[in-house]
Symmetry: C2
Subunit: 193 residues, 2 copies
DNA sequence: GGAAAATCAGAATGATCGTTCTGAAAACAC
DNA sequence: GTGTTTTCAGAACGATCATTCTGATTTTCC
């Protein structure tokens, strides 16, 4: 290797995540990616393969970051309802404030590609199941400290929260005001107690 | 007018709804529409204008049919929790059984187009608000007959149910099994009582 | 400084897109 | 049957897409 690469692949992938999150797979062109990342076509193809592989890596990055930022803390023994609520509030923050076009990449990908791409469908399902499980574990912790009713089926409620998080994403993407989203979260949370 | 039109515009629109529901706007080409409807390009453009206008009419048809089929009954004085639950179950039926690629066109359109098309965003928001209002009215009826707790804020719960319906659509589109969807609906419904 | 190797920016390519155009076919009036 | 008008099927068009190719540029090694 002689000439050094003029870009940081990790940073380029972050930009790709932003673009794909905002516009989805089909509506994001390689030209858009070249412009947004500042990386040459040569660099993009050489580093990430092709558009589909770049998208898959972006999706993985997105899911991974979301897992680390939001769901990891639910696995700790002191997890409580506050942490669960925080996940919803962080999502609102992420989807509403910065810029305005940011949607939920998981949700968008599910609608756009899941039924027509087995591999993507698998990735999404695995991630969603992990989300549900993390919610369930957090709910068990919350149950132990009496924050949720003892009769609550943590596993079912975990799946419910995962679905609710996507419902929230659709409402946000549709442009509903923040107080509508806050109200949705309040209703969701109150169903646990 | 001399030669008569060889197709039924209403039926052609129904086919367009199916296609757009399954694949969304960008992933459905005019060629696909020509093949699926059996209508010539000439007929499609002459009757519906262009792709975008055809899509808008398909969206309107979809929303209208969904309103008539599912939400109208909530406005009647005998509306109850059964009718609300039926809406969720009908959606599961529609999204899971027939064929398998049918997603929720409202939900899909929200993710794909809403932030980049003001008009579409408006259509979606108006429809979602009508959904929420219908849910709220149904909940008031249910409250009168003691099916839901008196403390329930019907307006907030209406918005919550609308969001939950989209969350359900995302889960369905991701290929989750029917019992997962049923469980999600059960959790959603139990939050009302 | 000069050769070698990798990257760059952007042109080229072939496919597909939405849309328009065209000649043949069909349906009605007479 | 003939003429007129509309629809039809599909070719044609220009734009855009993902991808590949190319000649110039940059960097390291010697």
């Amino acid at each position: 290797m002689v000439r050094t690469r003029a870009f940081d692949p990790s940073e380029a992938l972050s930009r790709a995540v932003e673009l794909f999150s905002s516009r989805g797979y089909s509506e994001t062109s390689m030209d858009d990616l070249v412009k947004a990342t500042g990386v040459s076509r040569y660099g993009l193809y050489g580093t990430f393969g092709n558009k589909q592989e770049l998208f898959e890596q972006a999706l993985e990055r997105y899911a991974d970051r979301m897992g680390r930022r939001s769901f990891l803390r639910l696995l700790e023994p002191d997890a409580s309802l506050v942490h669960i609520r925080a996940i919803f509030e962080e999502r609102i923050q992420e989807m509403c404030s910065s810029g305005k076009n940011h949607g939920c990449m998981i949700c968008h990908t599910a609608m756009e590609l899941a039924p027509h791409d087995r591999e993507i469908e698998g990735v999404l399902q695995r991630f969603m199941k992990r989300m549900s499980k993390a919610f369930a574990i957090g709910l068990e912790s919350a149950k132990e400290r009496g924050e949720v009713r003892a009769s609550l089926d943590a596993r079912a409620a975990g799946e419910f929260l995962t679905g609710a998080l996507f419902g929230l994403a659709v409402l946000a993407r549709s442009g509903f005001a923040r107080d509508t989203l806050d109200s949705f979260v309040a209703s969701t949370m109150s169903s646990l107690t």
